[in-house]
Symmetry: C2
């Protein structure tokens, strides 16, 4: 029956949360009998959940009961590096869409998800978030000649971005001239639906921007990238941001 056999306290707790997440009206006695435990024990369980930070509220007196405020929830999520960054990309993209057009609670969501990461990961997460930029829409001319990004190349880009590692790649510019680049990826930039890599290029010894779909071959080095001041990057390619 149901999700668990109620063998351990933890299982019972998650069953309790399940019950609270249904929209029904629960009294503590009702819950206790549903879970086959004494009323006292149920009250202790609720106390624990509250202490653990669950938004559980109660009304005393006739017609009272207990309720869980955030009824939609995720209990636990284990993410790989790639998935963590995907989630960040998702949130950044939606955030941009939100700022520009409307607020639909994703501000709170962003905050919640950010703070739901364990403390020791928070710093990295926030650092990465700042380095994902959402610019304007791709222009028609770009749109007309953009390609699918090769999966392996995207993976390396993402991993290097995640780990702050220097990249080596061969790039094919708009005139189909190939160059070999050494490059510190500082920012990921989206001009929907085209992704760019903004950073320091060692061939020109300058700030440069590269379209990821124009990278032909790539390899990640072990060299940690040298951080440089943020403004120079943003200013150098302001035109990519303007109309959003």
């Amino acid at each position: 029956m149901g999700k668990s056999d109620l063998k351990t306290k933890n299982d019972r707790t998650s069953r309790l949360l399940g019950l609270l997440r249904t929209e029904e009206h629960w009294t503590t006695h009702h819950l206790a009998s549903e879970l086959n435990i004494s009323h006292r024990t149920l009250m202790r369980d609720l106390e624990e959940l509250k202490k653990a930070g669950y938004p559980i509220e109660a009304d005393r007196g006739r017609g009272g009961g207990v309720r869980l405020n955030g009824r939609w929830g995720i209990e636990r999520l284990n993410l790989t590096n790639k998935e963590a960054i995907s989630l960040l990309l998702s949130l950044s993209v939606t955030e941009a869409l939100t700022e520009q057009s409307n607020d639909f609670g994703s501000k709170g969501l962003k905050q919640k998800i950010s703070t739901a990461f364990p403390e020791n990961q928070l710093k990295v997460i926030n650092e990465l978030r700042k380095r994902i930029l959402i610019g304007k829409l791709a222009s028609d001319s770009v749109l007309r000649n953009c390609n699918r990004v090769n999966g392996k190349i995207w993976d390396d880009v993402i991993l290097a971005f995640f780990d702050s590692k220097r990249l080596k790649f061969e790039y094919c510019n708009e005139n189909t001239i190939m160059t070999s680049r050494e490059f510190d990826p500082h920012f990921l930039l989206l001009n929907w639906p085209v992704w760019y890599l903004l950073g320091w290029d060692y061939l020109s010894d300058e700030v440069r921007i590269f379209r990821i779909d124009r990278i032909r071959t790539i390899s990640m080095t072990n060299q940690v990238i040298i951080r440089r001041a943020r403004p120079q990057f943003i200013h150098a390619y302001e035109s990519y941001f303007t109309n959003l």
Copy 2:
């Protein structure tokens, strides 16, 4: 010191997860001494975590040890209706971007997040996901005359969409002619960065699409929407999807 005082088993377990999430190399004896528990107990803790679904792997023999595969994780997330749908929108948007350009692990992410919702919410979540559509980019002409969506209006749209409730609103079309509509919202459609509502309009008794930023006043009714076959909606407004 640290996050917890290790007073209860649960605290210890979360400390253990914290240790595993650092990228360090851990042997079980190392972990046991770090947590001030016997080796046997540590092995039991690991066993429990594995049973609970954590991707913990171990190598026997010299140089062996234990490791947690998804090192980036969220322990728990409580969401309101609005936040849950924001998360879904986020994922849908990114998913669309992904399908079109590349795979960066967000397929796995989508799956993970979806299955991380408790069973009783899964059905609703998946049902909603199917009703979020990502189309092509907004055309220049649309882009030039689109407005910010009023927050209250967006909230009502989202809530009605979430709860499958009929809407009443006043709509201002391209010729600035106002009409009063009764409307069953079946699909949310994004032509980045413009959101549409696709559904059944009772004024014309037909499938219709409305730009959300052109809704002037709105109210949600208690009437549950009447489900209709999906194809008629999609076919009626195919031009909104084409180039993606």
